[in-house]
């Protein structure tokens, strides 16, 4: 087991190297450089050149890449070209926001998606199946930007039931001091239930927006995995032996259908961590996604490189955990 984990962690190194090379190359292939974006419409060519020199952007690309990798080995992500804030510090501040949002979105997706998939499979070709699968098809197809704004207009502007943005209300912002950066956890640690409710109310709309696509995908995967399992011989045998329908679904079918579902959940969770860009932008959520978005627009190379490396590592770790969880759900799998 440990050997397997260490082996997997070591295999992370070439993956990371590949990712950094890819991101570095792609970023530099995009026309335009940060000096121009930063200095704007009014800058003269001389000023741009002087600024490029100051930022080290006029050095040959391989040298810039080697410098970047050299720093990365020392866990130094560098600083933002635009703001001068160290990347590591920014990640440290922002990732709890993204993680909290992603976990909430995933929770919504799993809690609603898995039962929906099971119900659709059990009542295959019924009106319920058609309804759930049509709903999931719409869910997959909905543009996140549109859905986010729609939810804001309905729940925040028209009905004024939920706040439209941010992690915490304005009134609370002056008094609330984060401990871990995970606001839900922080409010519980402070035994402040009012604050907990405040944080939850801010989480609902962005989590719903972010969770819609994974919800739909999980529901569809669950349905197909369950259908496949339910058609197996041992299920027929169980039925013949007189095992009740509920027991068949939960104990026998679901457990065996769980591997593709857990794989999908893992992949979707990894995607959420990196793919919350639009949701975070619409809901002014101070996470990694909105930071990357600003970094890309501003050609802030260190921000994009550092952000992508962070997200990649998170993605790989989540996938490692998913792989390890296979053994948890299926005793036949051993990592020896």
């Amino acid at each position: 087991m440990w050997k397997y984990i260490i082996k997997r962690l070591f295999s992370l190194l070439p993956v990371l190297l590949g990712i950094t090379l890819l991101v570095f190359t792609l970023l530099h292939l995009i026309p335009g450089d940060p000096a121009v974006v930063l200095l704007g419409e009014r800058a003269t060519p001389e000023q741009i050149e002087a600024f490029r020199q100051q930022l080290g952007l006029n050095q040959p690309l391989p040298l810039q890449y080697i410098t970047f990798i050299g720093r990365l080995i020392r866990f130094d992500f560098g600083s933002s070209i635009i703001s001068g804030i160290p990347i590591a510090e920014e990640i440290k501040i922002r990732w709890p926001a993204t993680f909290e949002l992603s976990v909430s979105a995933m929770l919504i997706a799993v809690v609603l998606g898995v039962p929906a998939g099971i119900m659709a499979a059990v009542r295959k070709n019924s009106w319920l199946d058609n309804l759930l699968m049509s709903g999931s098809l719409i869910g997959v197809s909905l543009p996140v930007y549109w859905l986010g704004l729609l939810l804001i207009y309905l729940f925040a502007v028209n009905w004024q039931l939920l706040p439209p943005s941010g992690r915490i209300s304005v009134e609370s912002a002056f008094n609330f001091q984060a401990i871990t950066g995970f606001y839900l956890l922080d409010s519980l640690l402070k035994l402040d239930l009012k604050m907990f409710a405040n944080v939850i109310s801010h989480l609902i709309l962005p989590a719903l927006t972010l969770g819609t696509i994974p919800l739909a995908i999980i529901a569809r995967i669950t349905r197909s995995a369950m259908l496949e399992t339910l058609s197996q011989d041992y299920i027929r045998t169980a039925r013949a032996k007189g095992v009740t329908g509920r027991s068949i679904v939960v104990k026998h079918a679901l457990k065996n259908a769980f591997l593709p579902i857990i794989t999908t959940i893992g992949l979707q969770f990894g995607t959420l961590l990196s793919g919350a860009i639009l949701t975070e932008t619409i809901f002014s959520w101070p996470g990694i996604g909105s930071w990357l978005y600003e970094g890309i627009l501003a050609r802030d190379y260190p921000v994009v490189q550092g952000g992508v490396v962070f997200v990649s590592v998170a993605f790989v770790i989540i996938n490692l955990l998913v792989d390890l969880s296979y053994a948890f759900f299926d005793p036949r799998i051993q990592y020896n």
Binding site: P31, T281, S284
Partner: protein, 546 residues
Amino acid sequence: MKLPKWRFAFLAIICTFTIIITNCSKPANNINTTNPPPSQQGVLVYGSGGPPVNLEPGNILDGNSLIVQQQIYNRLVEFKPGTTELQPGLANSWSVSKDGKTWTFKLRPGVKFHDGTDFNAEAVKFNVERWWDAKNPNGYRNAGKSYEIWQQLFGGFKGQPNSLLQNIVLVDNSTVQFVLKQPFAAFPSAIASGYFGIASPTAIKKAGANYGTPAAIAVGTGPFIFKEWRTGDRILLEKNPNYWRSGLPKTNQLVIRFITDPAARLAQLRAGQIDFTVDLAPDQNKEIEQDSNLVAVPRPSLNVGYLALNPSYKPLSDVRVRQAIAHAINKQQIVQAFWGNLGTNDAHFTAPSLNWSQSANIKPYEYNSDKAKQLLAQAGYPNGFDLELWYMPVSRPYFPTPKPIAEAFAADLNAVGIRVKLNTKDWAAYLEDRRNPPGFQAYMLGWTADYGDPDNFYYPHFGPGGTTDLGNWKNDKVIQLLNQARQTGEQSARGKLYAQVDEILHQETVRLPIVHSQPLLAKRKNIEGWVPSPLGSENFEAVEKK
């Protein structure tokens, strides 16, 4: 029951991971947070178009940073609310020597920075030297700070041949002199621009290169005291109880939320999450009007959106062709369609508020396709020609929806036989490539002034080095008039010089003015005292929630 080894290992990893994520993420940006405010009354929330880059004066150009800086810092000279007229700021009065080269500023006594240190002539010198002197140890240029705006507005840094400033002299504790190499009549206006807030030298020395970042602090003399910057989310400011303008600010706490998306900004205003906001698109005006809780607030225009016609390309090298384009585009109708009552078209490159510098003798090129065809025929292009027209990939206050506007240009130009090919590219590349010879054939761009003087419109666009995007097109008379105006003290005399520039540029039509737009802002009905500045940012000392 004994857990199998691998299950134990898996659970151990999950637990370790959980412990790591809950312990390793203590935010580092929560500073100055030990004293919660006494009251939650009077919290004013401003919806900014994005996060600031930095709160360090003199080192940034973007509007999102400047609006926050306006709340924290004062400048020597400031602008009267809603205008470009000067009023005393940290300087009580100012005067210029007879030769127009030495500007003397008398400083306001008894003013203190938020950290309790004194504001005085030493503090002014300290701030100016770090902007101007590239070798100043407090400039932290090795940490990536550039202070480019100083170079742009005042010619260059210390020791450079084009530097307008020759010396800064401490006359006494409350008097400071700027000695210039040549007269510059707009100097007080330029030093009043939002970039040059005076910061506490003690705070800068203490924070070093981190000054003005979320990890540090920002200390000025302004109406609000910096409390905390939550990265990507908001900035919290509190009332300066010792503010030198008595009775101000009118609100106890000011929160600046960063909301990048205009639709999300308006939605939050409607939901009552923010009290006032900026940078909305003209087409959002209807939505504002339909909501009885909101009021649209147009910002006075101090900008120009123009179509650049590059004379280094063959058909455009003929002035008649450029004038034909000016006649072919129905500017009035386009402005009406895309800006409604938030835009005007006139014949001038400078904004309408600078009418003292405009010529009364010129009128906009009327929309007349027959005349356009006639001019094209005279120039030898009776069947028109192919034109590559570049439109911006981003929205700006002067061109909020560049692509449809460019399509409207193309439709009008096609009607007179000019076959337009529309192009665009990434914003950074757009800005860069327009200046790479030979530049674009025709392209859209604009300008929002840094200070309310015609010099800030004309010099960067038609002065030395300002026309690289037009194939280095040059008009000696224009440059001579611009330099002469810089050296002339009397506004009426300067006005006459600029009027001549106006007439020449109208005739030449290398940058065809399309619009002077009023950027759309909005507030909730119960917000009073907000007077937007034509310069793009103002302080909120008089804003209050009723």
